[in-house]
Structure formats: C-alpha cells, structure tokens
Amino acid sequence: MNFLAPLFLLGGIAIAAPIIFHLIRRTTREHRVFSSLMFLLPTPPRLTRRSRLENWLLLLLRCLALGLLALGFARPFLKQSSPNDPPGGPAKRIVVLLDVSASMRRAGLFADARAQAESTIRKAGPGDQISVFTYDRVAQPVLSFGEWNGVAFSERIALATSRLAGLQPGWGGTNLGAALITAAEALADSENDKTVGTRQIVLISDLQNGSRVEALQAYEWPKGIELVAEPLKTRNPTNAGLQLLADTADGDRQAATNVRVRVSNAADSTREAFKIGWIKAVGGELVGTPVETYVPPGQTRVISVPVADANGATMIGLRGDDEDFDNTVFVIPPVQQKVTIAYFGSENAEDIQQPLFFLKRALPDTPRLAIAVKAQAAGAVLAPDVMASALFIVTDLLPANQAALLREQALAGKTILFVAKNAAAAAALGPLLGLDNLAAEEVKPPSYAMLGEIDFQHPLFSPFNDPRYSDFTKIHFWKYRRLDPAAIPGARMLAKFDRGDPALLEVPVGKGRVLVLASGWNPEDSQFAVSSKFVPMLFSILELGGGLAAPVGQRMVGDPLPFPTERNETLAVRTPDGKTVQPPAESTVFSATLQPGIYRVENAGRSQEFAVNLDSAETRTTPLPLEELERLGVPLARKKAVVAATTPAQDALLQGGAAESRQKLWRWFIIATLFVLLGESALAGWTARKPALSAQTGTP
C-alpha cells in the first residue's frame, strides 16, 4: 500500500496521546478536605506504571481510531500493476503540436517552442508514446507514434530531438482548429487501448489571435483527450502588419493608380508611427516617397500607395515595426488582359435585332480585361490575330475554306460557339463538325419554350449550380431549331428545351469543342440576351476555352496556383527564391507556395505571375484567450499537473493521485474509524456506568 500524503502518517504519533492519557492518573476535580497540608507537597501528574493500565480494550480502540484516521488522511492507494502495464504507471499518449506558422518567426519564439517541445519529450517515461506534429494551415506529422515505438526507449528522445532540430517556422497561416482535430484523431485511434492512461495534446504555440479555430465548432471532441496549452511569450509586443487589399476585377478605376494596403497594429504594441512605401527587396530601403501613417494599438488604417512611385518595385514594405515577418506585401501591377472574340456573321453591328449588337455590349472593358469582338465578313481573309482569338462565334453559313480553318482551330483546342440563327444557317454546322447532311427544323412553340433540363455538372453551367442562380425559366425562347442529337456523334446535351429538344449541345472536335446553341439571343428568337444569365454564360464559354486567365484575387501562402488549361510539357513554376519547379504532369495546380513572393507560371512561352502574400490573420498576434478553446469544447488540462511532473517522483505522485482518486480507500478508513469510535463510546460509557451500578447494587 502506498500513500499519497504520507506526511499525514505523522498524525499516527497521536496514538501516543491516548496511551499517555491512560498512563496519567486521572486528574480529578474532586476535593478531599484534610486536616493540615503542612506535611504535603503538591505532586505533579505522573505516569502510572505500565502495569497500571486499566482499560486495555478502550486504549486499543482509541489508538485504533487515531491510527485509522491517520491512515485515511494519508490517502492510501494500492499500486495495481497489471502485467500489461509498462513500468512507471499507465502509459501516456501525447501528441506534441508545434506551431510553425509565420507568426512564430517573431524573435526567439521558435527557439522557445523547440525547447518546450524537447522538454515535453524528455519527460516521457518508458511506456509513454509521443508523436510530434507541426501545423500551420495543415498539420504535418514530424514523428509518428509508429516511429516512436519503432526505436528503443533510449534512442527515442534522440530521435525526436533530431527531428525537432530540423524544423523551422514557415510562412503559412494558422489553422489551429484543423490541427487540433488532426491531433485528436491521431489520439482517438488509441481510444480502446486499455494500456493507455492519459491522452494529451501538448500545444506549443504563440496562440495568436489570428489562429483559426472555427473548425472546432463543428467537431465533437473525443472523450478522454485533454489539451495542455503551452503559450509562448513573445519578447516584442509591438507588431504591425501589412495586408494587400484585393481590388475588384472591374469597376475600380483607382486600382490602376493606387495600391491599397491595410496597416494593422497589435493591441499590445508600444509603437504607433509607421512608414509605408515600395521596396525592391525584402528588408530593403523604401523607394520613393514613403507614406507616413499613425495607427494606434489595436486599430487598423487603410493606406493608398501610389503605383507611380513603384519604379519597378513589386513589394510594399512597412517600417517602424519590431517584428518584420509581416511587413512586406507583394504586388503585381495590374495588367489588362486582352481577349479577342471572332464573330462570323453577316449582321450589322448596330442592328438592334441582331446577336452581334448584344454581344458587343455584353463585354465592356475592365482594368483587368479588354475583350474585343471582331466581326468577320463571310469569305474575308482571316488575319492571324483573328485566328488567335479565344472564341469563335458562328451564326451564319461559312465558306468552305473558312469553315475548314475554324475546324482546324477547334481541332487544335479552341472553342467554337455555333448559334443556329435559322434553319438554313444550321447547315453551316456540318462542315464545322465534319458531318454531311446535317439538317435542322424550325420550331415555333405555341407560346414559348423554356430550358427544361440543364446539366449543371458541366463546367459551363457549374457557376449557376446554386439554387439562387439556377433559375433559367425566365428566359423565354420564341422559336428555335430542332437538331437531331443522334445525328451528331459524341454530342453532349447540356441543356434541353421543355419539349425535350436540345437547346445547347457540346460536340468535341479534336482537342477543342463546338458548342451548338439551338436558338439565337436576338430578340426575335429569345430573351436570352436580356437575361441575367447572358454575360456569365459568355464568360463561362470563354473560360471553358481557356481564353481567360485565372482571376488574380488574393493568394495566401499555401493557396494553390492554377495552371493554364492548355498546359504542355514545358510548364514550369518559378518560385520567389529563384528556383524552377517542374510540376508532375497530372497535377492541375501548383500547391507548393511555401513562401510569400511572386510566382511565375511559364507555359508555352506565356507566363503568368501570381503574388502570394502572407495570411493576413498572421498579423493579429495578440494572444488568443485559452477560454476560447474551452468554449469550443476542448478540455484544458490543469497546467500545474503537467508542469509539476518534472521528476520521476512527482510523476509517480501524479500516477498515485490518479490511482488514489480511483480507489478512494480513504473512505473505508474513515468509515472504519467511525465504527471504532462508536465501539469506543459504547465501551467507555459501559465502563463509566459500571462503578455507579455496582455502587447502587452495593457490590464492592
């Protein structure tokens, strides 16, 4: 039997008290009148000889009560060691979750974190299992339980330490919620393992306010896993950060002349005045006239930095801050993409009844995009720039040579939108698809036709695959041309009229495709051109053909960069540190955006630049209150219990505490004490009554 509080056993010394009291001759308040005290001296109370102990049983009961009480207070427990138990108590299973997000780049923070992780690992007992994960946007295993268990106990710490030594903080944002879930899942695997005692996640992080914990809201935390948070203290509370504000792709004309950045200052900052300006290299001097700003702690300011001051610089820097990991944003000067649409039709561009009129007006220029619609007269010689168009729209009969050229383009991968303006013009589809005798039939429904069945899984319609946008019934078609889809091999019906006739067909041609629209968008045919679906559809068609570059938007570290649709073998990505990466052929995105900077995707002689910036949430370095995690259902371990477990003795004490709280033997000791005391009272009462009774009965 072991004791959790052995010092209480000293209380057992109190057993001496009843013995002494029994030995001391009873001091009485009885008086005896005596003739003279002249020959008497006061006698101190003295111990009787052992042989004079009178009530042995009473003494025994009193000693027993005190002894039991002392034992109960010492909180005894039985060390239950099953053969499965490793020496040193029940094994702990710990996931060390180490923050490697960009905010850990602050001065000294990561060294502290690594030391803390090492200290946690060194505390491991022979039976303990430790796994190490790092996390920023996602959690990555550094050392798995399998690897830990795979080596001898003596080598485990060395292994873990060597793995830790190779770690450096990255540039990613912090998704604490997802990381905790990953760690909890790793621990939850051992839920039914009886040999595992405590299961803990030791979180070593700066716990900055920008950590994303929303994922925990929808997660039911597994039972028996507790979180030990080890928040790291930063040396410099001051941290101001810079974030690029996304400009809208269209409309904001100012974006061309100014870059807007947001300066945010941490709540516990000690500085308020900052300078912002273009820089040519990370940490370099500010170029041009810097913008001075004053941001009180805990507040943000939006600053416009003139593009004119850039002088070729692609970075905006912040000066006056203690921590510079979030003081640089990378900016790609806005570039207007020029896209050409070749329109093959005989209409007058100004004829309000013709499709071309609506097409031209549907695609206005934006700072990012300029779409030119070039109408080609039938039989005209096609200029090279027309041939390089992103999209070909055919509404009329074409001469054979033009049809052949267009078909070549389609075979090479371009997209042709064929609009069957009337039943006669439908004959022009045959040469494009390489089919003969393709006939169409004019249909004029009694009232109007609607789109009845739409394939929202197709990329063309996928932007509308949302109940809010998927209502096409407001587009009324007055007439259309019925094509027999069976006559067109490989045709995929993307939309049908309510009568079951095809409305939009996709016919693959070589690498490209021909989209056949069975009705025009001119007012005579339908209301399509005046519907809200018209422009998005046009952009969908452009994107489908690869005519539009990927939207620029904001890209954070870790966000994937899209590859052009027409990727070829020469596709390469140039990373900010000057390396060139050849992505695997099957990949469609470039995911290894591990650091902020300008990434250039080069493909077939064209290159596209992407500015990848730091996650703006990383700037919010004010510590996250731990209560927030508790609120989300993550049980926090009492920190004292873990920190205190620095020595094997204290560790044993903890295990003893667990065993004691499980067994609760003290209750039995207290109950036994009560029974003994009851017996003692009864016996003492009987002993005290006995002389009185014998006096009453007259027996000596």
């Binding site: 001759r25 009873r26 001091t27 009485t28 308040r29 009885e30 008086h31 005896r32 009148v33 005596f34 003739s35 003279s36 005290l37 002249m38 020959f39 008497l40 001296l41 006061p42 006698t43 109370p45 003295r46």
Partner: protein
C-alpha cells in the same frame, strides 16, 4: 503511641469500639461507659497537704511555714522539724482541649474533635469520681472557654456541655492558650493538653516550658486520625486544608512516603519536647478504644506516684 490492647492486662476486658461509643449522643454517657468497670480506687496525690495522712518529717529551713513546725519534736529534741502530710483528694486537673478546625477532620464516622471531647470527658468524669477537681480550657487560635478546676457535680456537667460545643476555630495556635493556662492556673496541678498538635513545634515548646516552669505537671494527648499518620488514600485528589482552605493536588501514592516520614518526625519531635519537659506524651489514634488511653494514663499516674513515694522514702 498506646500499644494494642492485646498486649495489656486489659486484654480480657471487653473494650468499647470507638465507632460504637461515638454513636452515644450524650458525652456524659460516653464518659460513663468508658469509666464503668474501671477500678474505683483512689490514687496518690502528688501534693502534700495538711489533711489526714502524715508522710514524713523534714528539717526546718528558714523560710518554711512555721505552722507546720512540729513543736512536740522541738520540745523533745530541741530540733526544728517540719511535719509533712499526704493530701488525699487534692489533684487539680486542668484539661486543655483543642477545638480548632483541624480537629474537625475525621476519616471515620466521627471527627478527631469528637474523639478528643470524649477523651476529655472520660478523664473529667473519671477524675471527678475520684474526687479530684477538674477544670477545662478550650481553645482554637485563642482561648474559647475556661473553667477552673473544681470538684462539684454541676461543674462536671458544665464541662460536658462546654466540651459538646462544636469546634469552630480556624487555626491551631497552641502558644496563646498555653500561656493563658499558665496565667490562669496558679495552683499547681496536672495540665492535660488534648490536641492534634498539627502546628509548628518551635513556639509550642516555649509555651510548654512556661507551663512546666510554673510547676504544672503536663500530660499531652496527641489525637490523630489514622489517615493522618498513613495517608492511606487511593485516588489522587485535590486536598483542601480544612483551616486555610488552600488546595493542592496530591497523589497519595507519591506523597505518602514523604508525608509519613514528616509526620513521624513531627510526632517524634513533639515526644522529645515532652520528655525534655518531663511531660507525658500519649499518641492516640481516633480508632483506638478510649479505655486504653485511660488505662495508660492511670498506669503512668500510678508509676509516677510510686516513683515519688520512692523518692520521698
């Protein structure tokens, strides 16, 4: 101390147990009960009076009372002789009885005061029967009652009544009463002091000396309770001084040895003082039959009487 009765010639006599004796309410009856059965003879008087029995001649020395000159002898032999006679009934006995609070202690069914009163009454009654004059002086810290020695029937009754008064004094002061006795009792006689003598002996010795020097014969009865000599108690208790109300905690088993030693030393010292002064010292336990005391007293008286006779002859 008076030896047990078995060794005495009174062994065959039926002694009255003090416990039984004390159940008799009347002190006089008690005294009678004790004296009853005793030999009713007279004893020699140590005093030479002028009554009946001629004892001796003594040569005249100047200063002698000329009344006792035997003129006939002078006429015959021309020498001056003084005639001496034996006085028959002129023992004057003054009983000095302690009635202080300490006498109120008793571990038996009666107190030492009761015992002492009975003793004094017995002596008084006995002496009265003998035709001797008996006086009484009671005292505590001062003299309470004084009755000069007389031989009258009502006087004896008065003595009995006085003796029956409860002991009420506080402390025991032997000095003042004994000095007072020396002042009051001019006539030589026997002074019998009955007390427990539980007081410092230094002054006592001086006052006894004063008394002895005034020509009084002294007999000292030290009355003690049996527990006072042995401290035979079982339980430790708070002992309260009956006179001063002082309380101390005493464990008899511890204190007994030293106490017995001290009280014995005290008794021995008292005895030594008495011997020095020619006084007779009797130590009486309150559980001893009173007849023994009376017998011892009489024996001692007779022994003294014979000695005096021898001295004279």
């Amino acid at each position: 101390m008076i030896a047990p009765a078995s060794n005495r010639s009174l062994a065959s006599a039926s002694l009255i147990e003090p416990k039984a004796l004390m159940t008799i309410r009347s002190l006089e009856l008690r005294a009678k009960a004790v004296v009853e059965g005793f030999w009713n003879g007279s004893h020699r008087s140590p005093y030479h009076g002028f009554s009946v029995e001629f004892t001796e001649y003594r040569q005249y020395t100047p200063g002698d009372d000329l009344r006792y000159l035997d003129w006939k002898v002078f006429a015959r032999s021309d020498r001056y002789f003084i005639k001496k006679f034996e006085d028959e009934t002129n023992l004057r006995c003054q009983l000095v009885v302690d009635q202080s609070q300490s006498m109120n202690y008793g571990s038996l069914s009666y107190t030492k005061a009761h015992y002492a009163a009975t003793l004094a009454a017995t002596l008084a009654y006995f002496l009265h029967l003998q035709g001797d004059a008996v006086g009484l002086l009671t005292f505590d810290e001062a003299v309470r009652d004084f009755m000069p020695a007389r031989h009258r029937a009502d006087h004896l009754r008065q003595i009995m009544i006085t003796l029956e008064k409860p002991a009420g004094g506080k402390t025991t002061d032997l000095v003042a009463p004994l000095e007072r006795v020396a002042q009051l009792v001019r006539k030589r006689g026997l002074v019998v002091v009955v007390s427990d003598f539980l007081a410092p002996l230094e002054k006592l010795e001086r006052s006894l000396l004063t008394l002895a020097a005034s020509g009084q014969e002294l007999a000292v009865f030290q009355v003690l309770d049996p527990t006072e000599l042995t401290l035979q108690f079982d339980q430790p208790m708070l002992f309260k001084d009956i006179e001063s109300d002082r309380e101390i905690y005493i464990d008899p088993s511890t204190a007994r040895a030293s106490y017995v030693e001290k009280i014995k030393a005290h008794s021995a010292a008292l005895k030594a003082v008495c011997q020095k002064l020619g006084a007779t010292h009797y130590q009486l336990m309150s559980d001893q039959p009173l007849e023994l005391a009376l017998f011892e007293f009489l024996q001692e008286r007779m022994r003294r009487g014979r000695a005096q006779t021898r001295n004279r002859s």
